[in-house]
Point group: C2
Chain length 540, copies 2
């Protein structure tokens, strides 16, 4: 297996030679029913991926396929699954796939079978969640836990929060929801103050999540919460559980109801399918629901091993993203789920993608001469249509789009207005947007609109590329598949760019300088006049 | 007054000539306490703006000042205030400033004094809100309204929602909150279904907001809500009020408790300080709180008339944004409020900016040869630090940053851990990030970290520009000032780029195609095979 920079590959040169033709690509002529049908790639969880409205043709797809082979993307993924040290900088294995099932060799680390370890923890927190949900574990006599509040930040917040939101309506409909879930993340004290004021403290279970056990925000919020519990006459020990690593200062602390463990091989932003996401999801919706999420993710992980692009949506999506980033020159990509349940999914993907591939050096630390991870942003449709879509349609620079949609709503509660349900309108809007972005319109061609003949303000240039992931309904399995799709996509892109998608050195400097600022409060200054000046004007 | 394209100005050439020097700019040497102090520009609402960590020097500032003069930015703003037809495409005045106070000529339209009209509506909805809050207006005997749910989308949702969230903790602390506020926006039926299931319907006042009165999503959600009310045995007429224009199909409908009016001169994304935001804010927190928001915005509007850059933060911020977009070549900008209360403020600014200036033709419809509005995204700090900041620090391409922070929290409820409160930690993080982004670090220079000598993965290039807006506390006046600052910034940028910031033709095509899709359901197809194919796979 060879790790080489992207610009040193033969595929790079080949792709560069295809740009001119692709820029002349006419979506109006080419976005046929046949092309759309040919573009469909089956995914896990009953989902399907379509690239029909992307700026690619067979020549580009062939070159991307050659790139996958040349950069040995599947082999590198298999090595990761087999437990090799893929996170080179931190010298760590990368094992979040193993949380969902075994696709590689047995991974033995310091004498321990890690797959078995993850399964044991899953079994332990499943049993814990059942005991809380059934009232076997209680905050006090006569009370049951009605609410779970996760205290965590970054990967211990965004993914679990997005998944909880994504399943709330599904669970309400299926009668699965038992505990209400809330989250405290920010060190801004208004966050913890508001959440603790809005929950019934005597019925609330707090789940403290920090892999390292030293996260500044999370420890401050833990003490904030403990203080509130004590002031309410409650015993914090009966209201708190922890998710951490076994080597952390939080581990094996009898002050918690129970503690569940992950290890250094589960990166924060990849930890939604570990105890980090599993405890809160199992408490809120039941462990069997969380296991459906795992099953959907595992199915996606297995499909991601297929070498054929037409059977591997994660790989294809990754490669098209590289094509757009490095050859078409798009510096951003938008995630646009037509599903209110996925309202915070873009925020999770923003972390997943930007923290993984926002790197300017390769895995060995050599500066890269090409662009890597794009800026990722997004909001649900149709909301976004009444907001930033103006720029997407008529701004000076195209933004590649990633649509997600479902045939059915989660709650099945709908109303018919003007001959269609709201769910049908939602889907009609999605279909319309894909075509509007791809084909555009020239003035005067919009029926039913005051003549715009020659009025360029009413012109839509079109040629704005999008992909679509769709399914029947956003179930736990579909959600797990969607999550793993993007995790695997980001991983493949990191392999193409030859960088380490699994460290995050870019968060360190801020931590160090923050400590300097706080230390300077005891007098003497930080040693950096700019730090001192900003501290002074902010009233630190 | 002349309207000319940006690239035709003398300032454009001048600025282009300054790029090379600016790219060599060394923040480590230049970010002195003196520069930081010199950079402070007083804003309204007790806020201050600092450009110290931006990639500008005196030569750039002088050229930007000359640009402001050459493009007659203040004169154009004054013309807008005086009621001229600044929204050329739709042939409309642009009067959201007049909602906050009079800074230009009296605006008479078809015999009516519009300033007086806006004041009358403000007085009417203030009285209505008081009556609801005091229990004079009730849903039924023995009940009072405990909850207000706004039904609207885009500008009728994002701004009002962001402002409500921003004031919730302040109002809780000040004892101002009376009604809980919730929002229904998406046509996804799960949105309305979930919100209606989570509120006490018999105590809920629904505020229907649609300027045109024909917004598909809002009308569908109105009927959704009415259906729920009827099924609960309630009279919708006692649970609904409307905000619309007088010419809309919703106007003067006795089926609502009351109706409040705006007009075509208040654009959706600029309508937060009209009845669109005012009704819900006045209901939730009291009309006197909403009037403080207006006062803060008005003060900002007045400051925005000052020709001197060192006294006009909105103008300066706008010009630096143009410098970054057109000369430094940054295609995006991030909004990073160190305030959980502002968690949805970036989503509002995303609409404000991208819908206003995401345009590829000038105000006369001629294609523009330069870039216009950037992609805008953001999340609150410190949350973002544990997420996408990795790319901001170490990605291949710099992203200009706009920080916002406050000395005090809103709730004043805090805990001291390791010698500092959470609020102090929040501010220390903010100061640290500004300096980290500006100055960067070379490996081995991070104290307390395992030797990174020569390890480029631990290198921070620095030179990543940011601005800072800070104040004592996020009060209603500060919030109004912040809102107006960004509105005025976007307006000035639109004037520089010579485009119409006040229309949104880019939303039309999707609407037309959606209607086609829905009409095709009755058989015969839409006439567009791509539309039909996407409709089929989505199950429309």
């Amino acid at each position: 297996m060879q790790f080489i920079d992207f610009d040193k590959t033969a595929a790079y040169k080949k792709l560069a030679g295809l740009v001119q033709a692709a820029e002349g690509f006419d979506f109006t002529a080419l976005l046929t029913a046949g092309r759309i049908k040919n573009s469909l790639v089956p995914m896990a969880g009953g989902l399907t991926y379509s690239w029909a409205a992307k700026r690619v043709d067979q020549a580009v797809l062939d070159a991307l396929s050659a790139l996958a082979e040349e950069q040995e993307l599947i082999a590198k993924y298999q090595a990761l699954l087999d437990g090799e040290i893929i996170n080179t900088g931190e010298k760590r294995r990368v094992l979040h796939h193993l949380l969902r099932g075994q696709l590689g060799k047995q991974v033995i680390h310091e004498g321990r079978d890690l797959g078995a370890f993850y399964q044991e923890e899953l079994a332990r927190f499943s049993a814990f969640a059942e005991a809380v949900r059934s009232g076997k574990i209680r905050p006090s006599e006569g009370k049951t836990f009605s609410t779970v509040v996760q205290i965590g930040i970054g990967g211990s917040d965004l993914g679990p929060r997005a998944l909880c939101l994504a399943l709330e309506n599904w669970a309400a409909k299926e009668g699965k929801r038992r505990l209400r879930a809330a989250f405290i993340s920010n060190v801004d004290p208004d966050d913890a103050s508001q959440v603790t004021a809005s929950v019934p403290l005597d019925e609330t279970l707090f789940v403290l999540v920090s892999k390292s056990g030293v996260t500044q925000e999370t420890l401050a919020n833990e003490l904030f919460v403990k203080d509130k519990l004590k002031k309410a006459g409650l015993d914090p020990g009966r209201h708190m559980a922890a998710v951490t690593s076994e080597t952390s200062p939080l581990a094996h602390n009898p002050a918690y109801l129970d503690s569940f463990y992950i290890d250094d091989f589960i990166g924060g932003r990849y930890s939604s399918t570990s105890a980090v996401g599993g405890v809160v999801l199992s408490l809120a919706f039941g462990p069997e629901v969380f296991k459906e999420v795992l099953a959907g993710a595992h199915e996606a992980d297995a499909l991601a091993l297929k070498p054929d692009l037409s059977a591997n949506a994660a790989l294809l999506d990754a490669l098209i993203g590289v094509w757009e980033r490095n050859f078409l020159g798009y510096p951003y990509t938008a995630i646009l789920p037509y599903s209110q349940a996925l309202s915070r999914f873009p925020a999770h993907l923003q972390q997943l993608d930007m923290e993984s591939n926002g790197k300017r050096v390769n895995r060995n630390g050599s500066p890269l001469p090409y662009s890597t991870g794009p800026v990722v942003f997004g909001e649900p449709g149709t909301n976004g249509q009444h907001s930033f879509y103006q720029l997407l349609h008529q701004g000076t620079d195209p933004v590649p789009l990633q649509f997600v949609g479902f045939a059915e709503s989660q709650r099945g509660d709908d109303v018919e207005v003007d001959g269609s349900t709201s769910q049908t309108k939602l889907k009609a809007n999605l279909a319309a947007q894909i075509v509007a972005f791809a084909k555009g319109h020239t003035p005067g061609h919009i029926p039913g609109q005051a003549s715009g003949g020659g009025d360029k303000t009413k012109e839509f240039p079109g040629g704005r590329p999008s992909s679509l992931i769709y399914g029947r309904r956003l179930t736990p399995a579909a959600l797990g598949a969607l999550l793993a799709h993007f995790e695997n996509k980001v991983m493949f892109q990191g392999f193409v760019w030859n960088l380490n998608s699994f460290d995050q050195e870019g968060v360190q400097l801020g931590k160090v300088l923050t400590k300097k600022v706080l230390a300077a409060k005891s007098g003497g200054g930080s040693g950096d006049p700019a730090l001192d000046a900003y501290s002074a004007i902010l009233g630190v």
